[in-house]
């Protein structure tokens, strides 16, 4: 089997508008581009397959010496570029080196039942190649939201109530604890009930702005809410501005202040 036949899509990347289809023979290429190329490989087996294909080598008969040299050269290049070398690559380099040494100095003692040291590597390469190809095929199968589209739940003239999930607040609490456990997002204890009101008010204001694009600053306040309400609203506006979600505009000093959506 000659793997070059299956050489369907090699590493091909676009850098600065130019398509780079090959590993550079020299280093006249910006280091960033090289990083991109290297990141194209899924691991040592992928890199090895690439090198074999590039040389048009029959995978069943890998000339281990040149491949090993190339591989090591390649890893040196990565090191030169100061990439963090995944240990997987180093393991593969040592495997290749071992195969090479065993082929150069055959171990006479157990030569009889010893198979070609390349056999195991070839098996792994072919196994990997098989799944690599299959994953390309899987990517081509018509899939939802790319090739075919699910018909969005069509509105039917029925009461929607019984389609609602039944969840009680307790379940929400449990879910919340799970989230807390996983990520200590609220570790700072900052979020008290007041902060939540601010969050709620932020959503409320955003929603209005979203519908009207611009609202008067004073229209955000309702006097019935009293001082606490005003403070919450004010904090919400400041928070929204801080997060860059709204713009606060005043055309001239002492004139009306407006809040507007950032995207116009």
């Amino acid at each position: 089997m000659n793997t070059s036949n299956t050489n369907s899509n090699d590493t091909s990347i676009v850098f600065n508008g130019k398509t780079i289809t090959d590993i550079p023979e020299d280093l006249f290429i910006p280091p960033e581009a090289l990083r991109v190329i290297i990141e194209q490989f899924e691991g040592p087996l992928d890199l090895l397959l690439y090198l074999i294909k590039k040389q048009n080598i029959d995978v069943v008969d890998i000339p281990i010496l040149p491949i090993t040299n190339q591989y090591v050269e390649y890893i040196n290049m990565m090191q030169e570029m100061q990439f963090e070398l995944a240990s997987d690559y180093l393991v593969m380099a040592s495997t290749l080196a071992e195969i090479k040494s065993r082929m150069l100095v055959p171990n006479e003692e157990d030569e009889e039942d010893e198979e070609d040291p390349r056999a195991n590597l070839i098996k792994r390469l072919m196994e990997y190649q098989k799944y690599k190809n299959l994953s390309e095929k899987l990517d081509e199968i018509p899939r939802l939201n790319r090739d075919t589209f699910i018909i969005s739940r069509i509105f039917a003239n029925i009461e929607k109530k019984d389609t609602m999930p039944t969840i009680d607040l307790g379940e929400l609490e449990i879910a919340f604890q799970e989230v807390l456990k996983r990520a200590e997002i609220f570790a700072s204890h900052e979020i008290q009930s007041e902060a939540l009101s601010v969050r709620e008010r932020m959503s409320f204001i955003l929603d209005i702005i979203n519908k009207n694009e611009t609202i008067k600053f004073i229209d955000c306040f309702t006097y019935q809410e009293g001082r606490m309400g005003a403070i919450v609203t004010f904090l919400a506006i400041l928070e929204l501005a801080k997060e860059g979600l709204i713009d606060i505009v005043q055309n001239q000093d002492y004139s009306m202040i407006y809040l507007q959506s950032v995207i116009l």
């Binding site: 739940r153 069509i154 509105f155 879910a175 919340f176 989230v179 979600l245 950032v262």
Partner: protein
């Protein structure tokens, strides 16, 4: 005009696949070039509707545009559908809802960061469909991601007057 698919089928497919009603403008915007005129789209919709006479669905014109819906008279059978959907009760569903409730307004990215996994779009779609969550704006970052917040309906469902009635995190942490 010539597209690789007939105009009527493009409109039909779009109405079927859309989550929201589509206005004539929305439909025109699906086309990069050779945009059909609004008049043309309206006529096509009328013809489609005529052809749906022998079907269980129709295109209706609602406030925000056109949408496909199942005709009246099928409740007996259809109301038995969608009683249970695994995505709705899943841990992922609840956690997503909780994060939106406590951290709103949030983007999908925020939720992903907190949960450490990508958000299943179906979950957001369901939450919006229940009207528990809505899009309140867009964040000014690349891709302008949608900002999600909970709604009054969400509060009503859980019998809460306001978000501050949600269990405060500090209390929970003692548990």
């Amino acid at each position: 005009m010539s597209y690789s698919k007939p105009l009527n089928l493009i409109i039909e497919g779009a109405l079927l696949a859309s989550n929201d009603p589509l206005s004539l403008q929305d439909i025109a915007n699906l086309f990069d070039k050779d945009k059909p005129s609004k008049n043309e789209i309206q006529k096509t919709i009328d013809v489609l509707n005529d052809n749906y006479k022998n079907h269980s669905f129709e295109i209706v014109h609602v406030a925000s545009g056109f949408r496909m819906q199942v005709r009246k008279g099928y409740d007996d059978w259809i109301s038995k559908l969608n009683k249970q959907s695994s995505t709705r009760y899943s841990k992922a569903f609840l956690e997503t809802l909780v994060i939106i409730a406590y951290k709103q307004p949030v983007t999908r990215g925020d939720i992903e960061e907190i949960r450490g996994v990508s958000v299943n779009p179906q979950i957001i779609r369901n939450l919006i469909e229940f009207e528990w969550v809505k899009v309140v704006g867009h964040k000014e970052t690349p891709g302008k991601p949608e900002l999600l917040a909970t709604t009054k309906k969400f509060l009503d469902y859980f019998n809460l007057k306001s978000l501050s009635d949600l269990p405060p995190p500090s209390e929970l942490e003692v548990l």
